[in-house]
Protein backbone atom coordinates (compact mmCIF):
# COMPACT_ATOMS: atom_id res chain seq x y z
CA UNK A 1 0.00 0.00 0.00
CA UNK A 2 1.54 3.30 -1.11
CA UNK A 3 1.62 6.51 0.91
CA UNK A 4 -1.16 7.98 -1.23
CA UNK A 5 -3.34 4.91 -0.74
CA UNK A 6 -2.85 5.02 3.03
CA UNK A 7 -3.65 8.72 2.97
CA UNK A 8 -6.94 8.01 1.14
CA UNK A 9 -7.85 5.20 3.56
CA UNK A 10 -7.10 7.46 6.55
CA UNK A 11 -9.18 10.25 5.00
CA UNK A 12 -12.14 7.94 4.50
CA UNK A 13 -12.01 6.74 8.12
CA UNK A 14 -11.64 10.33 9.38
CA UNK A 15 -14.63 11.53 7.34
CA UNK A 16 -16.74 8.68 8.70
CA UNK A 17 -15.80 9.42 12.33
CA UNK A 18 -16.25 13.20 11.98
CA UNK A 19 -19.63 12.77 10.25
CA UNK A 20 -20.89 10.46 13.00
CA UNK A 21 -19.64 12.87 15.70
CA UNK A 22 -21.26 15.81 13.97
CA UNK A 23 -24.60 14.01 13.55
CA UNK A 24 -24.49 13.03 17.22
CA UNK A 25 -23.70 16.60 18.34
CA UNK A 26 -26.13 18.42 16.03
CA UNK A 27 -29.02 16.00 16.63
CA UNK A 28 -28.46 16.43 20.40
CA UNK A 29 -28.51 20.21 20.10
CA UNK A 30 -31.57 20.02 17.85
CA UNK A 31 -33.40 17.85 20.40
CA UNK A 32 -32.50 20.36 23.15
CA UNK A 33 -34.00 23.18 21.06
CA UNK A 34 -30.69 24.99 20.49
CA UNK A 35 -31.71 25.88 16.93
CA UNK A 36 -35.17 27.23 17.75
CA UNK A 37 -34.17 30.85 18.41
CA UNK A 38 -33.25 33.66 16.01
CA UNK A 39 -29.54 32.92 16.46
CA UNK A 40 -29.85 29.34 15.19
CA UNK A 41 -27.33 29.85 12.38
CA UNK A 42 -24.74 31.35 14.76
CA UNK A 43 -25.16 28.38 17.12
CA UNK A 44 -24.82 26.02 14.17
CA UNK A 45 -21.69 27.82 12.92
CA UNK A 46 -20.06 27.56 16.34
CA UNK A 47 -20.77 23.82 16.36
CA UNK A 48 -19.17 23.50 12.92
CA UNK A 49 -16.06 25.37 14.09
CA UNK A 50 -15.74 22.94 17.01
CA UNK A 51 -16.14 20.11 14.51
CA UNK A 52 -13.32 21.52 12.36
CA UNK A 53 -11.02 21.56 15.39
CA UNK A 54 -12.01 17.96 16.19
CA UNK A 55 -11.51 16.84 12.61
CA UNK A 56 -7.91 18.11 12.53
CA UNK A 57 -7.03 16.15 15.67
CA UNK A 58 -8.90 13.06 14.49
CA UNK A 59 -7.23 13.20 11.05
CA UNK A 60 -3.75 13.27 12.64
CA UNK A 61 -4.58 10.43 15.06
CA UNK A 62 -6.13 8.24 12.34
CA UNK A 63 -3.23 8.86 9.95
CA UNK A 64 -0.67 7.84 12.59
CA UNK A 65 -2.75 4.78 13.58
CA UNK A 66 -3.06 3.64 9.94
CA UNK A 67 0.69 4.13 9.38
CA UNK A 68 1.56 2.11 12.50
CA UNK A 69 -0.95 -0.64 11.59
CA UNK A 70 0.39 -0.77 8.04
CA UNK A 71 3.96 -1.10 9.34
CA UNK A 72 3.01 -3.89 11.72
CA UNK A 73 0.95 -5.85 9.16
CA UNK A 74 3.26 -5.53 6.15
CA UNK A 75 6.66 -4.95 7.75
CA UNK A 76 7.34 -2.31 5.07
CA UNK A 77 9.36 0.76 5.91
CA UNK A 78 7.50 3.99 5.40
CA UNK A 79 7.91 5.51 1.94
CA UNK A 80 6.22 8.91 2.02
CA UNK A 81 7.08 9.84 -1.54
CA UNK A 82 4.37 10.87 -3.98
CA UNK A 83 5.05 10.33 -7.66
CA UNK A 84 3.32 10.97 -10.99
CA UNK A 85 0.81 8.12 -10.47
CA UNK A 86 -0.25 9.55 -7.10
CA UNK A 87 -0.64 12.99 -8.64
CA UNK A 88 -2.65 11.56 -11.56
CA UNK A 89 -4.99 9.74 -9.15
CA UNK A 90 -5.26 12.90 -6.97
CA UNK A 91 -6.23 14.95 -10.00
CA UNK A 92 -8.84 12.50 -11.28
CA UNK A 93 -10.52 11.92 -7.92
CA UNK A 94 -10.54 15.66 -7.17
CA UNK A 95 -12.26 16.36 -10.51
CA UNK A 96 -14.99 13.78 -9.83
CA UNK A 97 -15.53 15.11 -6.28
CA UNK A 98 -15.68 18.65 -7.65
CA UNK A 99 -18.48 17.66 -10.05
CA UNK A 100 -20.40 16.05 -7.17
CA UNK A 101 -20.00 19.16 -5.00
CA UNK A 102 -20.90 21.57 -7.83
CA UNK A 103 -24.08 19.75 -8.86
CA UNK A 104 -24.97 19.25 -5.19
CA UNK A 105 -24.70 22.98 -4.46
CA UNK A 106 -26.82 23.68 -7.55
CA UNK A 107 -29.41 21.30 -6.04
CA UNK A 108 -29.29 23.21 -2.73
CA UNK A 109 -29.83 26.51 -4.57
CA UNK A 110 -32.87 25.01 -6.33
CA UNK A 111 -34.08 23.73 -2.94
CA UNK A 112 -33.75 27.26 -1.53
CA UNK A 113 -35.61 28.69 -4.51
CA UNK A 114 -38.44 26.25 -3.80
CA UNK A 115 -38.76 27.56 -0.25
CA UNK A 116 -36.30 25.57 1.88
CA UNK A 117 -34.95 27.30 5.00
CA UNK A 118 -31.41 28.69 5.26
CA UNK A 119 -30.78 26.28 8.16
CA UNK A 120 -31.60 23.31 5.94
CA UNK A 121 -29.42 24.74 3.14
CA UNK A 122 -26.30 25.18 5.28
CA UNK A 123 -26.71 21.66 6.67
CA UNK A 124 -27.05 20.26 3.15
CA UNK A 125 -23.95 22.16 1.97
CA UNK A 126 -21.95 20.83 4.92
CA UNK A 127 -23.20 17.30 4.22
CA UNK A 128 -22.19 17.74 0.57
CA UNK A 129 -18.68 18.79 1.63
CA UNK A 130 -18.36 15.63 3.72
CA UNK A 131 -19.86 13.47 0.99
CA UNK A 132 -17.58 14.85 -1.72
CA UNK A 133 -14.53 14.38 0.53
CA UNK A 134 -15.53 10.76 1.21
CA UNK A 135 -16.23 10.25 -2.50
CA UNK A 136 -12.78 11.63 -3.39
CA UNK A 137 -11.02 9.24 -1.00
CA UNK A 138 -13.15 6.28 -2.12
CA UNK A 139 -12.44 7.10 -5.78
CA UNK A 140 -8.72 7.22 -5.00
CA UNK A 141 -8.83 3.78 -3.40
CA UNK A 142 -10.69 2.37 -6.42
CA UNK A 143 -8.16 3.93 -8.83
CA UNK A 144 -5.23 2.59 -6.80
CA UNK A 145 -6.70 -0.92 -6.79
CA UNK A 146 -8.31 -1.11 -10.23
CA UNK A 147 -5.66 0.88 -12.05
CA UNK A 148 -5.45 4.47 -13.19
Amino acid sequence: MSFGEREAASGLITTLIVTLLFLWRISGQYADGAFDGPDALQTWARSVLVLVAWSIGIAIAVFIAVAILHGILTGETDDDRKDERDRDIDRRSLTWAWYLLSFGILGVIIDLALGASAFRAVNLILALCGLSEAFRDAAKLVLYRRGA
Partner: protein
Protein backbone atom coordinates in the same frame (compact mmCIF):
# COMPACT_ATOMS: atom_id res chain seq x y z
CA UNK B 1 -8.92 -1.01 -27.41
CA UNK B 2 -5.48 0.66 -27.40
CA UNK B 3 -3.12 -1.11 -25.07
CA UNK B 4 0.44 -0.53 -23.91
CA UNK B 5 2.37 -3.65 -23.07
CA UNK B 6 5.75 -3.76 -21.39
CA UNK B 7 8.70 -6.08 -20.89
CA UNK B 8 9.87 -4.62 -17.59
CA UNK B 9 9.67 -7.94 -15.72
CA UNK B 10 11.83 -9.61 -18.38
CA UNK B 11 14.30 -6.71 -18.47
CA UNK B 12 14.63 -6.77 -14.67
CA UNK B 13 15.36 -10.49 -14.86
CA UNK B 14 17.99 -9.92 -17.54
CA UNK B 15 19.54 -7.17 -15.41
CA UNK B 16 20.48 -9.67 -12.72
CA UNK B 17 17.06 -9.92 -11.05
CA UNK B 18 16.88 -6.21 -10.37
CA UNK B 19 14.18 -5.69 -7.75
CA UNK B 20 11.14 -3.47 -8.26
CA UNK B 21 12.43 -1.30 -5.42
CA UNK B 22 15.83 -0.88 -7.14
CA UNK B 23 14.17 0.13 -10.38
CA UNK B 24 11.80 2.49 -8.55
CA UNK B 25 14.72 4.21 -6.82
CA UNK B 26 16.63 4.53 -10.09
CA UNK B 27 13.75 6.22 -11.93
CA UNK B 28 12.42 8.21 -8.95
CA UNK B 29 9.00 6.68 -8.33
CA UNK B 30 7.50 4.40 -5.67
CA UNK B 31 7.67 0.61 -5.82
CA UNK B 32 3.86 0.55 -6.10
CA UNK B 33 4.06 2.54 -9.33
CA UNK B 34 6.50 0.04 -10.83
CA UNK B 35 4.13 -2.78 -9.79
CA UNK B 36 1.21 -0.93 -11.44
CA UNK B 37 3.19 -0.35 -14.67
CA UNK B 38 4.35 -3.98 -14.84
CA UNK B 39 0.78 -5.14 -14.35
CA UNK B 40 -0.45 -2.78 -17.10
CA UNK B 41 -2.60 -0.93 -14.56
CA UNK B 42 -0.90 2.39 -15.16
CA UNK B 43 0.53 3.96 -18.30
CA UNK B 44 3.57 6.06 -17.37
CA UNK B 45 4.26 9.52 -18.74
CA UNK B 46 6.66 9.72 -21.65
CA UNK B 47 9.32 11.13 -19.33
CA UNK B 48 9.07 8.18 -16.93
CA UNK B 49 8.98 5.71 -19.83
CA UNK B 50 12.28 7.15 -21.11
CA UNK B 51 13.79 7.00 -17.64
CA UNK B 52 12.83 3.31 -17.33
CA UNK B 53 14.35 2.55 -20.74
CA UNK B 54 17.52 4.41 -19.74
CA UNK B 55 17.70 2.40 -16.49
CA UNK B 56 17.98 -0.77 -18.60
CA UNK B 57 20.11 0.95 -21.26
CA UNK B 58 17.75 -0.07 -24.07
CA UNK B 59 15.63 1.90 -26.59
CA UNK B 60 12.08 2.82 -25.51
CA UNK B 61 10.43 0.39 -27.95
CA UNK B 62 12.22 -2.51 -26.29
CA UNK B 63 10.43 -1.68 -23.05
CA UNK B 64 6.99 -0.57 -24.22
CA UNK B 65 4.91 -1.63 -27.24
CA UNK B 66 1.65 -0.06 -28.34
CA UNK B 67 -1.20 -2.19 -29.75
CA UNK B 68 -4.02 -0.25 -31.38
CA UNK B 69 -6.47 -3.15 -31.84
Amino acid sequence: VPRIENRIRRLRFDAGEMTQKDLADRVGVTRQTIIAIEGAKYSPTLELAFRIARAFDVPLDQVFTFHDE
